[in-house]
Symmetry: C2
Subunit: 202 residues, 2 copies
Amino acid sequence: MSYREKDTENEILEAAKKVFIEKGMAGARMQEIADEAGINKSLLHYYYRSKDKLFLAVFRFAVLQFLPGIQEMLTSNIPFDEKIRRFVYRYIDILLENPFVPMFIIQEIQRDPERLFNAFLEVGMRPAQIIQQFREASEKGEIKDINPEDILVNTLSLCIFPFAAQPLMQRLFCENDEQVYKEWLENRKKTVPEFIINAVKK
Amino acid sequence: MSYREKDTENEILEAAKKVFIEKGMAGARMQEIADEAGINKSLLHYYYRSKDKLFLAVFRFAVLQFLPGIQEMLTSNIPFDEKIRRFVYRYIDILLENPFVPMFIIQEIQRDPERLFNAFLEVGMRPAQIIQQFREASEKGEIKDINPEDILVNTLSLCIFPFAAQPLMQRLFCENDEQVYKEWLENRKKTVPEFIINAVKK
DNA sequence: GTCTATATTGTGATAGAC
DNA sequence: GTCTATCACAATATAGAC
């Protein structure tokens, strides 16, 4: 098969995503990635040369995956309420599929801020534009006079944190029943936007 | 000096707190803890036998440190608004002194849920009581008909997440000026309670 | 109790056969 | 491209002198 090489390379990347995103750079083991990919350890080096380079490929992917949702928030020209509803709905949807990605990014940025923040910019992140959107909503009188930074961070907090805290909260409130917790998270796609809108509307 | 032994044991624990809480179990190095404590590596084993046991001592401390604030929330019999204001103010205050502790707990619980959750219960955590308090506030008509679990998790999200995301947000919004970010966090002691109260009041 | 030296294991990386 | 075997070094842990 002429695409056999591509297949292996991709299986390695998929395995690396799973292990790195769940355990972080320090906690991940090359052996575990190889097992997950169903291949030998040395093939990892054949394709990616080092643990560090493989990690960076995963990190770039993780950042890329979570940018589109945020970018959509700033480009659309719909009213504030609707913007929040759409963003939260879509963002929690992505999170249900990839629960660990945002915390992985945050955790690893803390470990090596200089280098990893560059990967963040490389990929086209323009934070000032997002803030500007909220500022305009405030000036248009759609919402209260609240720091646009607060609205953005509060929104991200309410979306992301419940996923980060899942292992703990699930035990505390759901008798460790994953299905029950997932349904509660699903339900937040509707309750969180209303929570935010009530908090900031005039 | 008759308390010399106690001193060393305590200096080790302090050093271990600093390193483990910032880097996690997988990222921490016994050598770094020894350096931080200004002593030799083997003394760590003399006092705590293994990395695992030293880690567990730190984890127990971290959980204990963040329980009192949460417990206060459920014992006081003041009105809902005032309860939220006091809790958020105190909680962000503790976080300003210990920015990494909650994420440390969340991250490590995920790594080893069975064992570490026990440390959580050992220390007297009673989550059902907190939920009950919010349910009563709702029944008394103080607030909207919102899941008490949502109120608790939303409150924790708004307090904790901005600290977890600090290395990222500081770069995105504050040109990496730590002082500016700290002042913004300080300011949230007032804005976050109002955000929550507006969101849930009738 | 504290140190130096050393054992032991884990882990990323390379060499070389096929 | 893929495997087995092995290296080199890092990290936890222990032995033993003082």
